[in-house]
Amino acid sequence: VSNLDVDQLSDRYFERIHRAALVLTGNPWDADDLAQETFLTIASRPDAFQGRSQPYTFLYGILLNLERRRMRRDALRRRHLRVLWDHEPPEVRSSPGADAPLELVEWKKSLWSEVARLPDGQRQALVLRFSEQLPYEAIAEAMGCPLGTAKTRVFHGLAALRQRLAGRSADLRQVPEGVAEGWTHAG
């Protein structure tokens, strides 16, 4: 992929990749980083894309790998910071703790904050299906799994989400009625 092609790819797909990253991470700063890192990755490995898949599924695949890596790294960092935090005297502590993740209030109020607590496969499959609205074939391609697995992850992800929400009295639905009525899913 030449620089010119990366330009074209970013022109065409940066917004989509950023949207998926935003839903996954819960804050626009990490989303910016992840989205840019996705395109930098493809620019630094020009021979990685063989043209066997659609460019956007390839980009989503890179994004998902980077996001999983970031999740692991952040978890490790939080453990380190927790150790440091525990050694600080209580009187100098601020709230929240240094290990608290930075997340948007809007994201925390959305269902995506519940999705974030699901296993990686289900979480990412739900993002590709219901945020990115990819067909199952593209989800399977981006996640590097069989078609049936992609469908199963989406279904079980939704079921797990329903289970998490069960018993909660508060209605998390954010969209005001008027807006919800104006929303029309294609199909």
């Binding site: 620089n3 956007y56 939704l158 954010q174 199909g187």
Partner: protein, 153 residues
């Protein structure tokens, strides 16, 4: 707040929507799961409209040019010297803590390795670092793959 910022998702450039599944809501899902799916789509649409993507700065090839200073290259240019300074300070502090002025006893394992002539992992002391600097050092140690015997603050 939400309705002020809500933008209908499919009114955008159709090219951006290439590859989207027009039947995303017609999966054979039970009604309650279908409703969750619909809500997820709504929430994602709201978030992306509320926090839109900034323009990707420049292709990396262009960003590397002196006159093509995009956000990426400028960011690296600004961060690298600072990061190197912090790493240098961390390693230097670690050396001081291990070999030169520290009165604290070396970890037993390090002492054994010293006695055997093997390489010793540094002991990093965060004595005068702020929280942000500590976090940056942890990042750098991890990125550089530096194995650290222990941290002290």
């Amino acid at each position: 707040m939400r309705d002020d910022h809500f933008v209908h998702r499919f009114d955008g450039d159709l090219d951006d929507e290439k590859g989207r599944d027009a039947n995303v809501s017609s999966d054979d899902l039970p009604p309650d799961l279908a409703e969750l799916a619909c809500q997820l789509s709504d929430d994602a649409a709201f978030l992306s409209a509320r926090f839109p993507a900034a323009r990707f700065p420049a292709a990396p090839g262009q960003a590397a040019k002196p006159d093509g200073g995009g956000k990426v290259s400028n960011g690296f240019a600004l961060r690298l010297p600072w990061a190197a300074a912090v790493l240098f300070a961390a390693v230097g502090t670690g050396l001081i803590a291990t070999d030169f002025v520290s009165d604290a006893p070396l970890p037993v394992e390090n002492a054994r390795r010293l006695a055997s002539g093997a390489a010793v992992k540094p002991v990093v002391a965060f004595d005068s670092f702020t929280g942000a600097e500590q976090e940056a050092v942890l990042d750098l140690l991890e990125d550089e793959g530096v194995e650290v015997e222990s941290f002290s603050i």
